[in-house]
Amino acid sequence: MNRLIIKGGRFLDPVAGIDGIFNIYVMGGRVASFKPAYADTTEITPGPGVEVIDAKGLLVTPGLIDVHAHLREPGFEYKETIRTGTLAAAAGGFTSILCMANTRPVNDNESVTRYIRKKAEEEGVVNVFPVGAVSVGQNGERLTEMFELKSAGCVAVSDDGMPIVDGGLMRRALEYSKICDLPVISHAEDPTLAGSGAMNEGEVSTRLGLKGIPGAAEESVVARDIALARLTGGRLHIAHVSTRGSVELIRMAKEEGLKVTAEATPHHLTLTDEAVLKYSTNAKMNPPLRSSGDVEALRKGLKDGTIDCVATDHAPQSIMEKDIEFDRAANGVVGIETAFSLIYGLVAEGLLTLNEAVSAMTIEPARAMGLDKGTLRVGSAADIAIIDLAKGWTVDPAKLRSKSKNTPFAGMTLKGVVEKTIVGGKTVYSRE
């Protein structure tokens, strides 16, 4: 059996409460043992079937987990494929990702789910967990066959990208999904309030003369879905929380003990609507970038656990959809390669501890989606990220692995460089 030894790195695993210098021994793709480096007298030398990674001075964590990515395949391969999307994920330190159902065809039946999983096995480099649709065709009318979706490999259901307008359907989804214990991921948006808005409603939209989307468009549906979680006892996960009001609602729901989890994206945690000031379509996404007060509330929510996890909402869009009039441009930003560095930026600012940041990108997303991932024990699949926290890098869209380059962070210098990503004991990314 092939062996891999990660030597002398700072191993941080929030679940196990470990933060120290360890040698990690991997055998046959699984963790075989951890040894504190100071007490490890084993002679470690590379040889046939023995790979040694010198992680001295580097951070070693369980592989990162993203519960919200759009891989665009099948149907929109010109934006991203399972191959390019997972390569991008690996470059971002992610070892497991959930891919949303708004493909073409929509992932609303087991054959599409099986297709995605097969593609991911053949061409993907990280673990891919499909999210099935809540409604057939994401039309918001009829429930999908959730039991079959789960049997085929879906780990959650969501109509993400499309809001579920019909409260009755959302109720049935939260009830029915209990059969197979699937979380329902809510893209909380009232389209009658969002209207044809292109950005956050506020001073900046007024200045730019762009139609605004008020926070109430999100908060009213977050409130509805929480009430439905209370009514049904179903598992509700709120996607891409963007406003202070939503954070407050989720905080109350958690205090009440409801089965509600939530995510926030790196861009909503680090940018305000002022990023739109030059009509930059790479700062256009749904929900939109909000005010500084909202950003502050999201950060507090992430710190105190109201927001369980960071999720990227990695949404590749081609230049054809972005290099056009702002109000016609497509929503979405790529984010899977910049996510860790942006969240580490919050650590560098003193807003989060490193332990909290790693937790929000490993064990917490795993728990929210019920994945047996996000921590390394003896016997676990060796899904590992190795990161140089001391190093910085400048975001160059041309160098992103993702097929699409729609990042609002172009030109920014970020701290924290992913050096290696290991999935099942195999190195799938190594910085050049």
Partner: protein
């Protein structure tokens, strides 16, 4: 002297001295339109393209006449955006036009921000002739010129802009322009049509028409788009007109020497009554005359002044 940049995209980017420069240049060019031969050779050999993605009679004609009085060659292109089939992208259109070596593109578009996009794509000058609900700089400049002509100066005046502020590029450009020159600006309209954060642009906001008109030196009435009724921005034209329409009864509560402006085209009997529109306070046609002078000044400053 000429502008700092190559383009005129909005009043927000200008400072008071830029605005003064346009106004004084326009004042000196105004007499060209009074001559028997209404033409100066200043921009001979320059090509100006009027690229209009929105229907416009007044503004397009005004830019065209301004170009011709400066001896530039003006070409008009009207593109319909209502067509269901998606046309060429702005970028492709821009690159194609640029390949024909124009000196200036004047653009009007229903989407906010398009003139900025265009200016990034082309090397020639770009003039914003109105973009979405963002800016309409030449309109604000002609409004300032008109008020300056009557009042001698802008500083210290009180301007009230009344109507649909949310959807108005004229309102935004005038808020920036008049406040930069030292006027106090108030905007008034139903709360459904006064956008959030408008005060941050430097004005005061109210929903009371009386509050807006009682101390105003200048009242600018905005055109109300009748379609907004369908979107419930106001319940009926009748009630809108009763609350925010300027008629003689309301005018009697304003200052005796108040000036009335309207960017046109007017809905008679809706935002402004015929008596007021045609009355002694109204400067609506002076605005149109000054529009040509201001646009001649804009072309001169962007394209001509450097040679002297």
């Amino acid at each position: 002297m000429r502008f700092k940049g190559k383009d005129l995209l909005g009043i927000e980017d200008l400072d008071a001295s830029d605005i003064d420069l346009v106004l004084s240049t326009a004042e000196s060019l105004r007499e060209v339109s009074e001559r028997e031969i209404k033409k100066v050779p200043t921009l001979r050999g320059k090509t100006i393209i009027n690229l209009f993605y929105e229907p416009s009679t007044r503004t397009r004609t005004s830019f065209e006449i301004a170009a011709k009085r400066m001896s530039a060659d003006a070409v008009n292109i009207s593109v319909s955006t209502s067509s269901v089939v998606k046309g060429e992208t702005i970028k492709d259109t821009a690159k194609n036009l640029e390949a024909m070596k124009p000196d200036c593109i004047v653009i009007r578009h229903s989407a906010s921000g398009v003139p900025m996009m265009l200016a990034n794509y082309v090397k020639c000058s770009v003039v914003n002739a109105g973009d979405g609900a963002h800016e309409h700089p030449s309109q604000a400049l002609l409004d300032m010129l008109t008020v300056k002509e009557k009042k001698g100066a802008i500083a210290g005046l009180k301007l009230s802009i009344i109507g649909d502020i949310t959807h108005s590029r004229v309102a935004r450009s005038n808020i920036y322009g008049f406040t930069k020159l030292g006027a106090q600006v108030t905007v008034a309209g139903p709360p459904t049509m006064v956008p959030p954060g408008i005060e941050k642009l430097g004005c005061r906001a109210t929903s009371s028409m009386d509050d807006a008109i009682k101390d105003a030196d200048v009242i600018m009435m905005l055109r109300i788009q009748l379609e907004r009724q369908k979107e419930s921005f106001f319940p009926s034209v009748r009630e809108y007109s009763r609350l925010y329409g300027l008629d003689e009864a309301k005018l009697n509560r304003a200052k005796k020497d108040v000036l009335i402006l309207h960017p046109g085209p007017i809905n008679r009997g809706v935002e402004v009554s015929s008596e007021v529109a045609d009355g002694p306070h109204s400067l609506i046609l002076d605005q149109v005359t000054n529009g040509v002078a201001v646009r001649m000044a804009i072309f001169y400053l962007l394209l001509g002044a450097a040679k002297e």
